[in-house]
């Protein structure tokens, strides 16, 4: 079974523990500026929305890379940047329609979510379940269940 990150903004409180966990996993420091997942705070509405790579099947970044530095991890389905191949040309950052692959000035390479090899630190650290790592074919299961529950509580039509 392949899994994917599933985001439910309704549950996000804006605590940024996902950003800290991501940077710690990849750089060994707590540094939200280096996180591959970002939480956006729309303060006029009170909404907070975590956003990161959704690992497209036909990934624009992967196809655009001139040196084949972005590879498919067949186990997790993640599109992974190979640091020793990446030349920092940033073409992938132009190709990605969602902005989730970005250049890192310090390293001269690009970075994007690689699902932490199958144990994403962001989901593990999220205290509210706004970010979960679930069966990729059934990301809608929880929402279906909510509505099913509503239906189940209706008086019988008989």
């Amino acid at each position: 079974m392949q899994k994917s990150l599933h985001i439910n903004p309704d549950k996000c409180t804006g605590c940024l523990q996902c950003e800290m966990a991501c940077s710690f996993e990849n750089y060994g420091t707590f540094n939200t500026a280096k996180s591959r997942i970002k939480v956006f705070d729309f303060h006029q509405t009170g909404r907070k929305v975590p956003y990161t790579c959704t690992q497209c099947d036909e990934a624009w970044c992967l196809h655009a890379c001139p040196v084949e530095a972005i590879k498919l991890d067949a186990v997790t389905g993640a599109k992974v940047v190979l640091d020793d191949v990446c030349v920092g040309c940033k073409v992938c950052t132009i190709a990605c329609p969602f902005g989730t692959v970005n250049y890192v000035h310090d390293t001269g390479k690009v970075q994007k979510c690689d699902l932490c090899g199958g144990e994403p630190a962001c989901a593990e650290s999220c205290p509210t379940g706004a970010i979960t790592y679930v069966d990729a074919d059934w990301t809608g299961l929880d929402r279906m269940k909510q509505w099913a529950d509503k239906l189940g509580n209706q008086p019988s039509a008989a």
Partner: protein
């Protein structure tokens, strides 16, 4: 070791910024944030200094756990000598600003002197410089944040600033960050204003590393997060209802100071509490409460995000106030509501927004309005004096108008800006100020919760609930239930809470975790981050050392036994209703026992033995 190891010293008179290594010997004795910054402060500043003079200093300080994975690890404190009290002031704030400063690579920023013209400090990682703030002077906190983010061309810049009240010398002006988180009490914003310092804009991209034992730190912080998550207060009560969960509880306890302390129960309490915030309004079918919000790294998420009723008289034709913003917390709702006898929750939200927008403390503000209302009803403040405002208990219109005047620094707002002690003294009734050491006490009446009387009387920054929140024990039974109506055992309880809180306030962690955690939960997190010597015993000792250091400063500033007292009303006018009916505060009995528990002499001064035991 979790500290950045570096402090920034800004000389506002000369306009210079210099980097210094952190005194690690002091960090080991005073941890960080409140404790460590106070150590720097007492070493460098004359206790007799005029708080609003250039000789006073003001420090923004993070803790070792600020900007780390430890839950709630986003706190910073502002330390100075407070203009409202003349005592040591340490005000604590959440939001995201503290973590940003730490991630830029600084433990604290010390400001000294006074700038000849308005300036703000820009910090981008290592690079720090003072910049002209002429265009920001006269702007609100909300405008200042927007302008500075635009100027930096970086929406992730975090801003800590003063509003117009800090510029105008309102003695209870705050320092506000992230629009509605505040270092709220003791007038720290007025000190910044007196130095012509408008704001600090920070962007940090270096991160917080240097963790003593990273693997253990991740493991232990995860375990402690689970405790917060599973606890009924931090896992359910606070995220769902916020601190407002207390309004009905404290009212039923008969400890909700009402109409400037005349009563201990408010008949309108249910209209201004958590349930009222969640109720759908008849006007628009929406509730005032929109959602809850966390500060940096927080598992609890007690913050309230609210929207005011657009049809309410206070905001008709003012769409700038219609968006979602920081909502009512318990202390603010009490001060703006119960202390003034006002049950219009939309008016309270409006006044609360103005407090955030222009940076002033809703506790002192609301309590001062309550005192002014009493003076008005006694005929001592006249309608001419208020500029036509009918300043009667219960008047929502009066509250909204007075808040607008304080924000703009106009008319009667200038008198309210003095705080209740100076206002009541001016009108010949100093005893009507519900304050200790010049700072107004918050939302717990010492007649109904006896331990809080001792908490207020002995708090080093003037009356305050956040120095030893014995409500946890006396009302909620955390960690053990004690009887709120008796004084027995309270001196020891208050001492233990004061010391523990000082340790939490110096670590970078929010004191709200203490509903579920004790120092025994904090210690392994500090130890994994900072070094194995930070055991439970050591943190308790550090907390006690910090408390005594603050006390010693206050003694040298001129505070004596007579300043550890409550307003006469609480000692002579018994509670009229509720479980505490017939009771007054037993403060006079508790003080000598407390001094003894502290190892102080009968005048409240540290004995030589206590000094040597604590290494002071």
């Amino acid at each position: 070791m979790a500290w950045a190891g570096k402090i920034l010293r800004v000389d506002l008179t000369k306009g210079t910024c210099t980097s210094e290594p952190l005194r690690m010997d002091w960090a080991k004795q005073y941890l960080g944030q409140r404790g460590l910054a106070t150590k720097y402060f007492v070493e460098e500043v004359d206790p007799k200094v005029d708080p609003l003079s250039p000789a006073n200093k003001i420090i923004w300080a993070t803790g070792p756990l600020t900007g780390t994975m430890a839950s709630t690890g986003g706190r910073y404190s502002v330390i100075t000598k407070g203009p409202l009290t003349g005592a040591i002031a340490a005000s604590n704030s959440g939001g995201y600003w503290g973590a940003e400063l730490k991630m830029a690579g600084w433990d604290m920023v010390i400001f000294e002197g006074r700038s000849a013209k308005p300036v703000y400090l820009s910090v981008v990682d290592d690079k720090a410089e003072l910049r002209d703030a002429a265009h920001l002077w006269g702007k609100t906190v909300w405008q200042t944040e927007e302008i500075l983010k635009k100027e930096a061309q970086d929406p992730l810049t975090r801003v800590s600033s003063i509003g117009r009240s800090g510029e105008n010398g309102v003695l209870f002006a705050c320092i506000v960050n992230d629009l509605h988180r505040a270092a709220g009490r003791s007038g720290v914003g007025a000190v910044a204003g007196s130095k012509n310092l408008k704001a600090i804009a920070v962007r940090g991209t270096r991160g917080v590393g240097n963790i003593h034992n990273p693997k253990e730190f991740m493991k232990v912080t995860r375990e402690k997060k689970k405790i917060l998550h599973d606890h009924p207060v931090t896992g359910q009560g606070l995220p769902t209802y916020g601190t407002q969960v207390l309004m009905n509880v404290i009212n039923e306890t008969g400890a909700l100071p009402t109409r400037n302390g005349r009563d201990v129960q408010f008949e309108g309490a249910s209209k201004i509490g958590a349930e009222a915030m969640a109720e759908k309004r008849p006007t628009d079918g929406k509730s005032q409460l929109v959602t809850n919000q966390a500060c940096f790294g927080c598992t609890i998420a007690c913050g309230r995000i609210s929207k005011i009723d657009e049809t309410h008289f206070s905001v008709v034709n003012k769409p700038e106030y219609w968006g979602a913003t920081g909502g009512l917390e318990y202390e603010a709702a009490w001060a703006l509501g119960a202390a003034t006898g006002i049950n219009d929750i939309e008016a309270l939200q409006y006044a609360n927004m103005l407090c955030n927008e222009d940076g002033y403390d809703p506790i002192t503000f609301g309590s001062t309005v309550g005192a002014a209302m009493e003076l008005y009803e006694l005929g001592l403040i006249t309608k001419e004096k208020t500029g036509g405002i009918e300043l009667k208990f219960g008047s929502a219109e009066a509250l909204c108008k007075v808040a607008e005047l304080v924000s703009r620094g106009e008319g009667f707002g200038k008198e309210i800006g003095l705080g209740s002690k100076r206002l009541c003294t001016k009108y010949g009734k100093p005893e009507l100020s519900m304050s200790v050491k010049g700072q107004e006490f918050p939302a717990y009446d010492p007649r109904g919760i006896q331990g809080m009387g001792l908490t207020y009387a002995t708090s080093n920054r003037g009356a305050c609930h956040l120095r030893s929140y014995t409500v946890a024990s006396e009302i909620l039974g955390i960690p053990v239930k004690t009887d709120p109506l008796v004084t027995e055992g309270k001196p020891e309880l208050v001492k233990a809470f004061q010391d523990a809180t000082a340790a939490f306030d110096s670590s970078g962690i929010c004191v709200f975790t203490t509903f579920a955690w004790t120092v025994a939960d904090l210690a392994p997190q500090v130890a994994a981050a900072c070094g194995d010597e930070f055991t439970l015993e050591n943190l308790n000792l550090i907390g006690e050392r910090i408390w005594n250091m603050e006390r010693d400063f206050n003694n040298k500033a001129g505070f004596t036994r007579k300043d550890d007292d409550l307003p006469a009303r609480l000692k002579t006018e018994a509670a009229k209703t509720g479980p505490a009916k017939g009771l007054t505060s037993g403060i006079d009995k508790m003080i000598p026992e407390y001094y003894q528990a502290r190892g102080w002499d009968t005048d409240g001064r540290l004995t030589a033995e206590t000094r040597s035991r604590l290494g002071l």
